[in-house]
Symmetry: C3
Subunit: 109 residues, 3 copies
């Protein structure tokens, strides 16, 4: 048994929850904030059998990894919107930090 | 030294806090939500000497285990309440998921 | 790699965050409450290479340890404030409980 502590961005929290439920993996979510950007993130606490660790890690990676997204932003704000040319801007979203902890014993009462 | 992470239902949080204080066991509570039912629960973080792990586990079990409760519910809502026959309904309450983690070192500053 | 779980007083949270950022140490903060005084505190989750554990512990100790603070309090409330003699009163502030946990594996996606 391992305890996976996965710190992910709030934006990815709902999709990760759903994917874990679908995979019949129980998780507990803790609200958290990052140190650097004080951005809101979520810490998932996932207890899982040793044999399923890799599977859960790949679920986290697939749904929460850092990625680039293109966002259309008007070039300049003071130009009337209708003839502002929207240039796609590349933003970084997502990202996950994951600790796999050893567990001495596990109980469900 | 072990770090016990106990995820329990909010309903049982106050009683567990009191029992731990009475047993002179320090605990830190983290607000959390479950994956499945998105139900609010509480994660207790309890640092305890190896010799007291079993004692703390039994305190958790006694106060937080899954149990059946009978709830009186009126049979049907449209029947005027006064002559509705309240049948006791069995509901599941409580339940605890507990991880006992090894600790490399412990400090109190 | 270790996972440091440091439970500190809310009052010390901002300074610890800043010091960790300055030392280029990533941390995740979880809002928490203490068992005894139900006082609000904060749980820092800090993943750090083995070689930096002592450095991070000293940052926590320096900024969050229990200490005495003198607070000027008017001697008695019913005496008109202007000629009340303010005696310094010693209060205990700060304090940190720190668990250093072993980590089986660590990933950043
Ligand atoms: Ni880029
Ligand atoms: Ni039943
Ligand atoms: Ni004193």
């Amino acid at each position: 048994m391992k305890l996976i502590m996965a710190i992910i961005q709030d934006k990815d929290s709902a999709i990760l929850s759903d994917e874990l439920v679908e995979a019949n993996v129980r998780a507990t979510k803790l609200p958290s904030t990052g140190g650097f950007l004080r951005a809101g993130n979520t810490t998932f606490m996932i207890g899982v059998e040793d044999e399923r660790v890799d599977e859960v890690l790949s679920i986290i990676k697939t749904n929460c990894e850092a990625r680039e997204q293109f966002v259309a932003t008007p070039v300049s704000m003071d130009v009337p919107l209708d003839n502002a040319i929207a240039y796609p801007m590349e933003v970084h979203v997502g990202g996950a930090t994951v600790f796999v902890l050893p567990v001495d014993s596990f109980y469900r009462f």
